[in-house]
Amino acid sequence: MSNYAAPVKDMLFVMNELAGLDKVCALPGCEDVTPDLVESILDEAGKFASGVLAPLNKTGDEVGARWHDRQVTMPPGFKEAYAQYAEAGWNGFDCNRHFGGQGLPRLLSAAVREMWKSSNMAFSLCPLLTNGAIEALELSGSDVQKQMYLPNMISGKWTGTMNLTEPQAGSDLAAVRTRAEPRGDGTYRIFGQKIFITYGEHDMAENIVHLVLARLPDAPEGVKGISLFVVPKFLVNADGSLGERNDAYCVSIEHKLGIHASPTCVMAFGDQGGAIGTLVGRANEGLKYMFVMMNAARYAVGVEGLALAERAYQKALAYARERVQGRAIEGSPAPVAIVHHPDVRRMLMTMRSQTEAMRALAYAVAAAHDAAGRHPDPDERQRNQAFVDLMIPVVKGWLTETGNEIAYLGVQVHGGMGFIEETGAAQHMRDARITTIYEGTTGIQANDLIGRKLAREGGATLKAVIVMMRQTQAALAGESQWSRIAEALGAGIDALEKAATYIVAQYGADVRTVAVGAVPFLKLMGIVAGGWMMARSALAAGRHMASGSTDSFYPAKMASAEFFATNILPQAAGLARVVVGGGASALAIPEADL
């Protein structure tokens, strides 16, 4: 069994040196957050992740959630772990203090959530969905709804779900058919079937608060006719006690490639006369509310890619150190641990440097999100929001695609043992597989990136980011220790600029050809943004070494940054060529001849 140890040191390095923890701490509402508090929160969260959640990861995979008679039984230990998690107050980490949360910044919650996901991704999905539902209710719910649901959801006593998908309405929510009929007393009866509902039913909490997309009788067709309803598993009485069982049942759960402990439910609303719900916000505006949440959810899924990469790396590294096999390629008197073999080193460094780059990018985006929400200067808020909006599809798309690559390498480092389930490396690979699919596939993210985030505004935000990247490149110049990083980053930025210019210019004229290159462009942008973050890491590490630090963390960070520059960043030029010249051939063969 592998142990998980939260990478607190790297997390703190990224927060302090790259994400501007000091600036986040200075934001209104974050005054209580001091560096020593951040460290103790990360230490204690790390203990909880390693001690409580990580040991259940394998059981969760092997036993899985079980369905019987419209109820779901969680794998052994999950119910107790969830009770501990809620009891310890982790659920309300970044939630509104007014309703019992701790109101901590997103930068911090990104790190803490990374730990939950690394230690037990299937478990972490329950709080993830609850948090999404909390956010939606807080933004759009009425005061009565907030009072009724938020305190118990924030404390973790109740959990939440998001009911969007239907068999015919997956990526395209315009096709939603679930109906809501007014009962005349301000409440509604909901009828319909929802699929892929994460934690739609389980035995860890006394109530489950479903947020459901449905159509009112007079609603217009398409996306403009979808409303959002809150439909609890047990109706809530005026005094806050639980009332009747609502007509919302889990009729089956899916058998999946990974995240076995997370029940993916088929939910039937209204099979026995109608599930009672109340409208959230205004009629026909449900999709708008969902989109707010979806950005948060997309970010969170990106962090899943990072988290599984970290776990896969830790496991692969431990195995590579311990597995003795073969003599050294340069000759050795006895067999050596495989960590000594150059190709294993290449794999481990590919895992490590990209994991570090992903963490740096994810936390930088989280810090910008904090500034976008809390900064006193409206221009700063707007500038940070633009950065977040641009980067969300990159965080979701690049982190999950790379997370899959790293989990794949994790299996490869293990050799034959990696293919054996008992080893545990395969679980991370299977668990990672969903991350490029749910909350919008990589293709959907890439279309969002080139369309809404790039072409629509003529690439303005990206240009501003490129200016910052060039500043980092300039800071590296002239020092021989950084010359290879500077050169690779410069070439990467050139490639990104070239590809972005092409997309902005051609999007209107030939959108189909451009869109073939959407995912390659997303990867290109992820790699260059990651390279930028690693270059900044190298600068920071260099500063510490120059001021006399003997900590081996800094030379290791420098080496990792150089590996990224010399082994990962060179892909940027190739990807730019794909974006600019690869589209037409993909569309050349008529559909019938494919």
């Binding site: 209580d32 001091t34 103790s40 003997t550």
Partner: protein
Amino acid sequence: MKVFVPVKRVVDYNVKVRVKSDGTGVDLANVKMSMNPFDEIAIEEAVRLKEAGVATEVVAISCGTTASQETLRTALAIGADRAVLAETDVELQPLAVAKLIKALVDKEGPQLVILGKQAIDDDANQTGQMLAALLGWPQATFASKVVVANGKATVTREVDGGLETLELTLPAVVTTDLRLNEPRYATLPNIMKAKKKPLDIVKPADLGVDVAPRLTTLKVAEPAKRQAGIKVADVAQLLDKLKNEAKVI
């Protein structure tokens, strides 16, 4: 009833320690430090006594450098009410620590001092015993169960022959063994509150204690590497080797 819990900042149990190249000690630079796990058990026990209404105040004590404040904050996050650091950069040995704690006990008058039976860095297993001797208090070491009632502590101890139960009249010193309890995970609200709980800093001189080391460390070395094993042909050869080579039978 006030309870004192002395806690020590030590190298984290997950760290593989390295001896400094000059053999003067263990390399502590850039190494993760944590609370001594036996002391964590002591804090947990004290907090449980408070939750049970037996103790009224739990005070965490540490002796050492200013960095020990972090360890005290951990104790506060688990549930101690306040903390005192006897701050010094001098290398502290068990006798000096016992004297510092005694001085604080004299000042504040706790009825019970609970601390780890030993610290996982030097494994000295002396501070509790020395403290009891200096105070002239009864002591019960290696506790696996503690019941406090009516001015007495009933302590079950793990000894070579099994379990031994002692009854002590308070005030007393108790040192904890691993099986006494399983320390809780600090809750997020308590971690946040810990920052605001009082943490006083005193100097050994203020307490009238001379902390100068009495012992000199001559040399620190890594344990000898384990030799590779061998296969024996039969039981007779095994017995022969145990008798004549290993000389254990």
